[in-house]
Symmetry: D2
Subunit: 184 residues, 4 copies
């Protein structure tokens, strides 16, 4: 069994829609309990509860939004150095391609690494010229199938790593599970 | 007058095509001499010669290609700390959206900042949901008009900054030149 | 003449002390007007006023503090795409060596690049094994001479670039001014 | 049982000395087989063999050295997307504090994330104002006890995560093992 937290901030609603798809992807793996929480409603207890976390933010001036940063700076300091070894990943919605979503995912990775999380990306391609190497990155909201699948695949992989590493279910390993990682 | 160097590495030819468009964009500004050089043919003298540089690399494993890194590590060390104040920017071709081109541009910025260059990105949008905030980033080669314009705009901006800051031509400032920065 | 803004956030007081030294360094170059402002007191008008900016934040969970991010996310959006071509740099105080100050400076660079600023670091060494390559980075507060000089040198270089590029005073160029950049 | 690869490039010998200490730290955890390999001697088989990897490079112009990048770009492409789920971390020797070692560790993280590794840092402090948050970062070679311990702690943590996650030995978890993580 495993606990997955999808933690997000959203202003326009785009990142919130991504978060819902990430949560749906995590639920593809049996035995996962998934919590979907905005930074406004999330508490430190949610982070303590989880084995794996997906953190999402719109690109705001090239980085994670201040509201998401505020969450980690103000709600989480007492838990710093007590959360090591959880598994983490990132997602972000930008205004346009080249708009900073990769760099925003990287800034989320930095926060998670600081807290002792193990962070990952996906070698997977979810469609031709569409991948998830440093987290799920979209322009705007998830609409096309490849955009929806990018978010779901991220959540799925997070749940796979939790299943394999926390719950000891080696059959869920993405390289041997038989689930497709590439559309070709 | 100003000297612009477009320095690139390319394996598939995609980044080479971007480089040619970046060079074409630099030539939009009067009085610029533009050199287009691959890392195989470029020398330290080319970098010493330039007032502004655009550096391009394919995304290789999330970063600048080793061939481009080798250029700076092996051909340029004697010039380190003697090049400060030149102006620099980055471009990159990736295998697919979300594939690391922003992070590769960031890695190029790091090299340039290390050498004392002033680096920049562009607030410009060149089309709906298509921008150049951390350099020109494409998936594959430049084909669509917005992809070509992304590359050209980067070169144009580099030449504008060289014109304004090195050559003292304040009328070329992108905020007051009358040239469009947004398609709307 | 040139206008320099030193914009900082500080909780413990360490980054505030760095900011005061950065401001003192900027004042080494004749003809500079220097404003020292915390994010609590600064306004968008201060940023509009400046030709060069030094932005400082403590390392908080590996990145710029949420209070600094909030400044750019909430006070500055109306000025986005209207500030291009200003010159910017970064400084940061961390809890210990290896604690994230370089990465925090990089996150500040990302914000500034997003706004169209030209950002820089310094090839300078200010003492043996002590440099300022990606901004001024300290552990704790500036106490030793090399720590104070790291901050001042950053401010000085910012003012030098403003003098050279904005004010056309080529004699202030760090490579030809005769001022020492290395202690050996 | 677990397999640990310490992969490094070194020119001056400083990073090689760090690598030896990282390997010694990994050997603190029972049941680990540790390989210490320079990029000149390492092969793709070494990476395939390992469950956990520590990658070290000197800071060269702010990033991983071209020789280390060349290893991943030329020796490893056939293994891309076949290595997911291994555990990885980074170390780097720089010329001076503020010299780019954190950013170099980040560039190593990017390569490892691209290959599907789970990457981590350490909340640990190994001495007053001396930590390992984004990997082990030193100026010069490891000489002082705190510098040696920074390297060893990184290797130890890598071996701990391999023991916990790959080998199922939950008693090796750093938060509950009883081993000190802070000197106070």
């Amino acid at each position: 069994m495993g606990n997955i937290l999808v933690l997000f901030h959203s202003k326009s609603g785009n990142t919130a829609k991504m978060a819902a798809e990430v949560a749906a992807g995590a639920a593809r793996i049996p035995g996962m309990e998934v919590r979907l929480r905005s930074v406004a409603e999330a508490t430190a207890e949610d982070v303590r509860w989880c084995h794996g976390i997906a953190v999402g933010s719109p690109v705001n001036m090239g980085l994670v939004a201040w509201e998401m940063k505020q969450f980690w700076d103000t709600k989480m300091p007492d838990d710093w150095s007590k959360l090591d070894g959880r598994i983490g990943c990132a997602f972000s919605s930008q205004g346009g391609w080249g708009g900073g979503a990769e760099i925003t995912c990287q800034s989320i990775h930095t926060i998670l690494v600081n807290f002792g999380f193990l962070v990952f990306g996906l070698p997977d391609y979810v469609a031709h010229q569409f991948n998830v190497h440093y987290g799920a990155t979209l322009s705007g909201e998830p609409r096309e199938p490849r955009e929806i699948e990018a978010c779901r695949r991220l959540g799925q992989r997070l749940a796979e790593w939790v299943a394999v590493y926390v719950d000891g279910r080696k059959e869920e390993h993405p390289l041997t599970s038989g689930r497709p990682r590439f559309p070709w």
